[in-house]
Amino acid sequence: MRFAFTEDQVAFADAVRGLLRDQCTPDRVRAVWDGDEPYVRDVWEKLAGMGVVGLTAPASAGGLGMGPLDWVLLFEEAGRVALPAPLVETTAVAIPLLASLGESACVERAASGDGIVAITMADNVDRVAYGASADAVIVCTDDTVRLLGAGDFRVREVVPSVDHAWLLAALDTDAAAGQVVAEGPEAADAIADAYDRGALAAAAELCGLGEHLLAAAVEYATHRKQFGVAIGTYQAIKHHLADVRIALSYARPLVHAAAWHVAEHTPERSTYVSMAKAYASDAAVLASKKALQVHGAIGYTWEYDLQLWMKKAWALAVAWGDADFHRRRVADAVLG
């Protein structure tokens, strides 16, 4: 029993943290919010250069062949800066799915950072995250994995999520378009694993979002004065933020354990992913509400950056299954 990451895993996360802190600044997030670009392309390229984008691809496809224990901390860092880029979709979900099904050309391109791969697990292509900027789209239905190339679909409409940096596209495509990458039980298993990776990566990002929201609220409460004292001296403010600290401190171990279970492909992996996503969703939403309450009116404006993190937390708390959905999944596994 050893519940800790390796030095290499921690060092990689530290390096990514440094890069994102320097490169993925709030004004870069704003640029995506304002529609200047669909994701932070320059940051994405730098992440690709570091090996982050393709870390889940096999070495043969230019990747690092890494698993969830190697990447889960990186997603916390992505959450900490509210990274507006398809790290969950492309790196955690699409690349390993295609790689496991032997689809190497697309994997190689995605791993290099040159093109992004979007994925939908719904029965339709009406809400595809990053669908408007993807070179390829994976459509997973029941037990079929279909890969649409750039010529196989057109963007009908872009629907904003509450996180304006995370846009969903409605696509037009033919039912027979693209290429069937896998079918039958093998495909169904691969889809289930892909879903678990998506929920796990989202849970890790939610932890990072929550940590930033907490840190921002602590910072504000330390310097904002009312009645002649910093508002952080008030017990009500202290207890709001202590509650956030507690929620996040118990979400992270669940997320880390879920990463281990997914990495080890244990029979309980989906249950652990669901526990992690449920806890992390609730913790990040709690963090958003308490951070807003501590900031007061200033946090309630469009200009102030707090909303970039809050709204990403709200969107991610719902994406990949909300807390109620995942608790039902745990209940079905544990209670029958």
């Binding site: 999520s161 969903l168 009312q226 009116a297 719902v318 909300d322």
Partner: protein
């Protein structure tokens, strides 16, 4: 105890309902907190005034119909049940007007009330400042005496001024006695925003509505003596009457929540295979709204008997603001994966509701008031 309406009240309700049904805009109104949507709201509220429904509880001479508090509640129920939005005139008619009725001279009442009801003047509230939020007594904006002009010159900054960029007038507190501190030496002034020495910078709200707030900067703007409301240097006690209204009855009539919860029930009924947890959240919201409605009836019975709102308005404010958040969360939870989208009425409602625990005195401050003034716990 009698929880039925009189025949007269039922007739009033029927009249209001019919008028609203006939006259309300055929399409839902855009947000009145945007530069694009404001005028349509103003036009609608003018129509309301022309029909005699803008300020039902005011005297007829100012555009009202001398309605009782009960009739006002009925009107609000009908107004929100018709799917109509919060009024762009609300800070004037609900916050300033009660103070004007109580402290204003008849000249002030004649000058301002009809234009306020008729949305010719739009009023915003100048309370908060960058360093004076929860700590309202910390305001620094000042009014300097200009004896020769017979009035006051304003300097300083207000902020979080609701729809400040759309209003032509502001009511607010300014320091008139530089030697006084905290709650003393402030005066309640009625300010024309359309003059030199006033700069208004709009601020967009969390939900993106661009005209929702403003910062208002004063640099020598003038207020004549006859625009002082109440006595000079007595502004704090004059203003407290208004914040009582803001927290208490008028800002959040139960009709708003019963209408919201009715829409929530509709959403529930139209949701295929709803989760039992969502069912529980919906029924809790329904009970909350009913509790709020009944508690309001109790309050109105007391007010009709001559009582005044005291610190129990803080109980009210905490309750409705947190109920509103839960109500919208219940809807988002029903929406499931669809809860992710922007610009749905429920996401908009959730974002709007999140302001409730912050404005009009944060809920932390309100709970202090409840503990100290209602329960009698010791201040520090």
């Amino acid at each position: 105890m009698d929880l039925t309406w009189t025949d007269e009240e039922e007739a009033f309700r029927a009249e209001a309902r019919e008028w609203l049904a006939r006259n309300k805009p055929s399409e839902p109104l855009p947000s009145g907190d945007t530069f694009e949507g404001f005028q349509a709201n103003r036009d609608w509220e003018r129509r309301l005034f022309d029909g005699g429904w803008a300020v039902v509880s005011w005297p007829r001479e100012y555009g009202g119909r001398d309605a009782s508090l009960w009739e006002w509640l009925i009107f609000e129920e009908e107004y929100y049940a018709a799917g109509l939005p919060q009024r762009v005139a609300q800070n004037g008619i609900f916050l300033l007007a009660p103070t004007l009725f109580e402290f204003g001279t008849s000249a002030q009442q004649d000058r301002y009330l009809p234009r306020m009801a008729g949305v010719e003047d739009l009023w915003c509230q100048g309370w908060s400042e960058p360093d004076a939020g929860s700590d309202l007594a910390g305001i620094k904006s000042r009014a300097e005496r200009d004896e020769s002009a017979g009035g006051w010159r304003l300097y300083g900054q207000k902020t979080w001024t609701t729809r400040g960029g759309l209003c032509n007038r502001l009511f607010g507190l300014f320091r008139t006695d530089p030697s006084a501190e905290r709650h003393r030496g402030m005066t309640y002034l009625l300010v024309d925003l359309e003059q030199d020495g006033v700069t208004v910078r709009p601020l967009a709200r969390l939900d993106g509505d661009g005209a929702a707030f403003a910062e208002v900067f004063f640099d020598g703007a003038f207020v004549a003596d006859d625009d002082v409301l109440g006595a000079v240097n007595e502004g704090w006690s004059v203003a407290m009457a208004t914040t009582g209204s803001e927290r208490g009855l008028t800002l959040r009539s139960p009709g708003r929540f019963t209408a919201s919860v009715d829409r929530l029930v509709e959403l529930y009924r139209s949701t295929p295979d709803p989760d039992p947890l969502a069912r529980d959240a919906v029924v809790r919201a329904w009970i909350d709204a009913e509790a709020y409605r009944l508690a309001t009836f109790e309050t109105v019975t007391r007010l009709a008997g001559g009582a005044r709102m005291g610190p129990e308005s803080s109980v009210n404010k905490v309750f409705w603001s947190e109920m509103d958040v839960r109500l919208n969360e219940a809807a988002l939870s029903l929406l499931g994966p669809e809860a992710i989208f922007d610009d749905t009425p429920w996401m908009k409602g959730f974002e709007f509701a999140l302001a409730g625990p912050i404005y009009a005195g944060t809920n932390e401050i309100q709970r202090n008031v409840i503990a100290e003034r209602l329960l009698g716990l010791p201040r520090r």
